[in-house]
């Protein structure tokens, strides 16, 4: 019987004794490559309980027992290094970008709030916030520097804000510049996600849009995992808390997770959202599978979804009657669309 060991191909007899051995050279890199090939093919693995160590010693691959461990250690380490460096696939890069975007959003918001709080003491009438305020502070510093061509000139002239001293001004300006560069970085990451989504997952990009598509890949863990999910799972990705509450107790099931940010759902009237979410999730899962297995863009997917949504809207044009115990009075259901 032939078997593949990490150090060579062995021929063993009925009693498990090694009859002949085709040994490899002790080149760590080559042995590691072979180990990875065997992992994939799983061809002729040793039988259960086969003592590789004894065989390696018996057929003369190694000279003394301790050498077995030290060589195997090197080979195993080299093999996992190759695997780990190959694991940074394009979809993993998108995931990193999405997560970096979330971190930047969070940071930019809290720093913006700080700036608005801080600078508000010196120019409360500005009415600016977020990126506009950061840009204003970085550019002008004290409100005294605002020129007559700026729309805020009049307000700056008779502001009740405190006088901004040079030391504080330098500090605030630097702070505002950091906030500006965060917003700049955010745009850069968004552009990156948009272009890589078009390359890596064109169908998902078409149906979901780049941000939602990237977020779905990120939560699933990879494009492959997303493609393996049933569409009912995709429908509630990002709503795990509500889902488990539903499974554990009698809470209602969630209708949508992160896909709520899709314009088809969040612009739809409330009684259609669940139905549209189901239709959208079905097409999203098809899109992910197309992207993983064929990679070709299929414009028909988006058209079919639109058609389906049109049908849903046509056949459910008015809201359903609410159940009496939910507290709605019979005459008060005026939530009709348009």
């Amino acid at each position: 019987m032939k078997l593949n060991a990490w150090f060579g191909i062995l021929e063993i007899g009925e009693d498990g004794k090694v009859l002949s051995a085709d040994l490899l050279s002790k080149d760590v890199r080559e042995l590691a490559q072979r180990s990875l090939t065997l992992r994939e093919s799983r061809q002729d693995p040793p039988p259960a309980g086969f003592d590789l160590r004894a065989a390696a010693l018996g057929c003369g691959f190694i000279e003394f027992p301790a050498e077995y461990d030290s060589l195997l250690h090197e080979v195993a380490l080299e093999a996992v290094k190759i695997q780990v460096s190959a694991s940074l696939t394009p979809d993993q890069r998108i995931i990193q970008a999405v997560e970096a975007l979330d971190d930047i959003n969070e940071t930019a918001n809290s720093l913006s709030e700080r700036l608005s709080e801080w600078y508000g003491g010196y120019f409360p009438e500005s009415g600016l916030g977020g990126e506009a305020l950061a840009f204003f502070v970085a550019k002008y510093g004290s409100r005294e520097n605002v020129g007559p061509d700026n729309p805020l000139y009049a307000k700056a002239l008779d502001s009740m804000g405190a006088n901004l001293e040079a030391e504080d001004e330098a500090l605030l300006r630097g702070f505002a510049e950091s906030v500006c560069s965060l917003y700049e970085r955010r745009r850069q990451i968004e552009t990156y996600i948009e272009s890589s989504m078009e390359r890596i997952a064109p169908n998902l990009n078409l149906v979901a849009g780049p941000m939602l598509g990237a977020r779905l890949i990120s939560i699933a863990g990879s494009l492959e995992k997303l493609a393996l999910f049933p569409s009912s799972t995709i429908q509630v990705i990002g709503a795990s808390k509500a889902l488990f509450k539903h499974l554990r107790s009698r809470a209602p099931s969630p209708k949508h997770g992160v896909i709520f940010s899709h314009p088809l759902i969040n612009t739809a009237p409330w009684w259609l959202r669940g139905k549209i979410a189901r239709a959208l999730a079905a097409k999203l899962s098809l899109a992910a599978r197309l992207d993983l297995y064929s990679g070709k863009k299929d414009p028909a997917l988006a058209e079919k979804l639109e058609e389906k949504v049109r049908q849903i809207r046509a056949s459910n044009s008015r809201p359903p009657q609410k159940k009496p115990e939910s507290g709605a009075k019979p005459g008060a259901k005026k939530k009709r669309r348009k």
Binding site: W6, R42, A48, G49, L52, L72, A76, V80, F244
Partner: protein
Amino acid sequence: MPEIRTLSEGVFEIIKDKKQLATRNLDPGRTVYGEKLIPVEGVEYRAWDPRRSKLGAMVLKKFDIPLKSSSKVLYLGAASGTTVSHVSDLVSEGAVYAVEFSARSMRDLIGLAARRKNIHPILADAGKPDSYAHLVEPVDVIFQDVAQPNQAEIAARNAARFLKKDGYLMLAIKARSIDTVANPKQVFKEEVKKLEQAFEPEFEILTARDLAPYHEDHLGVLAKLKNKTHLE
């Protein structure tokens, strides 16, 4: 002067101000995950946090730990290597085959394995032992912490291939990863039954204890192969 008690081979309890589980550091001067280093009479020990390691919790729950300095161990679900590092301390003359499926965790594990010659890292699915059969020799102990719904089956498949006739299986069963909704006690009962009967080989359960208060809804299990003809 701290007092040292041996709990089992290589596992110590150091009593200084409070009791502290520890192993002898195989890689002196280095910590792995921010644990404390405790020098006693010229020997360096590493503190072992039972809340971060299910094996550590099993020690404190008075399991008979079957690890000796010469043991060969197949560790399924090695993660970033927190527990693996202590197993590596314990089997200083043996070997740990550390199987992990996540490339991200393996990145951390590589750093550990590079410094400890008795760890052989393997990036593979523990549910497919065929894929690493060309690397792993018969072992004395299989330790499994994979948090998969089919973990009993995974244990059986690996034991069939790699566990010596008189070897031991240690595993941590996480109720929430089998069934998020069911009552943990019920889940434990069913999982233990699966180990005993559902797959080939069957196991004989030696000890099964809840790992509270160190880990919520986890059951630690020590088992050996049921007395039938198995690996020769």
